[in-house]
Amino acid sequence: MTRRSWPTLLLLVLCLAPRGLEAQAPACGAPAELLEPGVPLPAVARAAAAGRLRVLVVGSASVLGPGTSGPEAAWPARLEAMLAARRPGIQIEFVVRGRRAATAQDSAALLKEELAKQPYDLVLWQTGTVEAARGLEVEEMVETLHAGLEQVHAAGGDAVLVDPQFSRFLRTNSNVDAYREAIRLVAAAHAVPLFRRYEVMRHWADAEEVDLERAPREARVAMADKLNDCLAKALVVLLRKAVAEARAAPAPR
């Protein structure tokens, strides 16, 4: 090897290494089985083919990216940027509606309000955290979700449910499992993919990949940014698979 080829090689390694890593772990190392949608998203596939995708995100504070460096670091904003970068030909519109301590009922009201304005191809509904933290009735959340998902489908759109975030504090001090299980059953009842954020985040925490609770104070903002970025990446994987499934088997709804 000549002396001259060294810089070339170095350049090559620098260019390839991150891409190689990314191919290995498209969602910060989240296990692929956690990102299986299980059901297709036909409306999203149709919208992507038509060149215009309208996405509505509803939920509580975490859709606004609390603790991050700014609104553009929250996971819905990161997801929008990633989708736009992946598919520059598609016109992507994102509407994010959420507020602190919003219950499923509050989110359902926001959903109704937005659906009255215009139809959406995809609704990302993040729910369960506030219910679990406050120990609200599981059945009330279930009924609200049933009604809301029916509205989304009636308006011709697809939905993806997003369950609570993992936190040791939440696990220790609330009965979060009861709410997670109910959300899973609601998703199955409406043939809607569930983004298992709790399991994915628990995996990241166990693997010491992203662990907001154990991050030192000065690193916390950077960690929150990374968490939101990783969540968006994981959602991209799930959405991509669900769209691929819809294309492979265009099921009439």
Partner: protein, 408 residues
């Protein structure tokens, strides 16, 4: 340890005359499972009843608590009259209330500790978990009124209200059809009208006592031993073995098991679940003791009661004796279990890998066994060190309201 177990003191108690150790065993197992299920993140939690059935340890606990109450207070009622039995019941309720408030204080301290340890303010901004910090005086008042029940502190308030409901119903122990009819009527009315006791944080109680009372009174009716006019003990209410009933019960459990296994599976297996079945399952609420949950626990009880003979040798085997002892000292074991679960949660918050998992569960079983042993030792010493009581009183606790005996 054998000599400490009630109903095992005599060398060979004739079957049917002594204490039903199966009840103690399953009560002990339910108590241990409640400890496990109250430590979120505990790996043993994947092996408890809730994973393979539509019901869980809570249902077992409430049914067997009813059984123990029917046995103990029914005997008091027959021997010393209503006023005495009602008074000891009220005394027991007082003990439970004080225990609950003590556990509430421990819980508050634990939340404070883990909030400080994890420094979670930014992360849990959206959570109103810290109601205690926001409105401490009001929170304390609401806790005293049982209207503020933090997660995992919801079983004792349920139990307190169930025993309160038993006070006026005590005489009806002698008329099981009337008792069960009234109770079933209330259960149905509450489910149809969607009535629940109010909770301060919104909605109703996590366990609605007005619905759960049916399972409790069902247990009471099973536990009560009628006294015949000649003073001898009559026969308990039993549902005889019938192949059709047994296969029906087995089918219910099988379907329930299948449903709960599928609903925990990965997304692809979950997609196999028909949508309307998933919708039905999503409506199976624990709060109002959904009929499917009720049916599951009754089917399980029926099968266990008939498949495990009263004098089964394995029930008396050494490895299970700790659980029998736990079951015979229900209240202190229950309270200690809840207390330990707080410590267990803190421990698993620090690390949830296998050394800590092993440590938490071993400590749990050792301490709970120790509580059972101490309770039994105290009872033996209290009764003058007589290891063999008079045969007539073997199954009938002498002081039903004392903390250390076999009361609920």
């Amino acid at each position: 340890m054998r000599s400490l177990v009630r109903g095992l003191e005599g060398p060979a108690a004739p079957p049917g005359s002594g204490r039903d150790l199966r009840v103690d065993l399953f009560r002990g197992l339910a108590l241990f499972c409640i400890f496990i299920d109250h430590v979120p993140g505990n790996w043993l939690g994947l092996l408890t009843l809730r994973n393979i059935a539509l019901c869980d340890a809570t249902e077992a606990f409430v049914l067997l608590a009813g059984y123990a109450a029917g046995l103990a207070y029914g005997a008091e009622l027959d021997r010393r009259g209503y006023s005495f039995a009602a008074a000891s019941l009220v005394r027991r309720i007082g003990t439970l209330y004080v225990a609950h408030i003590f556990l509430f204080v421990v819980f508050t301290a634990q939340v404070g500790f883990s909030a400080a340890a994890l420094d979670t303010t930014a992360y849990l901004d959206e959570l109103h978990l810290d109601v205690f910090a926001e409105q401490p005086y009001l929170a304390l008042l609401q806790a005293l009124l049982l209207r503020f029940q933090p997660a995992f502190l919801d079983i004792l308030p349920l139990y307190i209200v169930l025993l309160l409901l038993l006070v006026p119903m005590l005489p009806l122990l002698r008329a099981p059809p009337l008792l069960l009819g009234l109770s079933a009527g209330l259960y149905l009315a509450v489910r149809l009208a969607d009535v629940n006791l109010p909770s301060w944080t919104g909605g109703g109680w996590f366990f609605n006592p007005l619905a759960w009372q049916f399972l409790f009174f069902f247990g009471c009716a099973l536990g009560y031993v009628p006294r015949r006019p000649d003073g001898r003990r009559g026969r308990r209410l039993t549902l005889p073995f019938h192949p059709a009933l047994a296969s029906g019960a087995a089918l219910i459990l099988l379907l329930g098991g299948l449903a709960s296994l599928i609903s925990q599976a990965e997304a692809e297996a979950m997609a196999l679940l028909p949508e309307h079945v998933a919708e039905v399952l999503s409506a199976v609420d624990k709060t109002g003791l959904h009929p499917l949950r009720l049916l599951s626990i009754l089917a399980l009880t029926y099968l266990v009661a008939h498949l495990v003979p009263v004098g089964a040798a394995w029930v008396r085997s050494a490895p299970l004796l700790p659980f029998v002892l736990m079951g015979q000292h229900g209240l202190p074991v229950f309270c200690t279990g809840i207390f330990l679960s707080f410590l267990g949660r803190l421990a698993l918050e620090l690390s949830d890998r296998w050394p800590m998992q092993l440590g938490v569960n071993l400590a749990g079983i050792l301490v709970l066994t120790a509580v059972g042993v101490i309770g039994a030792w105290y009872r033996l010493r209290g009764s003058g060190g007589r290891p063999v009581p008079a045969p007539e009183s073997v199954a009938l606790p002498t002081r039903a309201a004392s903390l250390t005996n076999s009361g609920p």
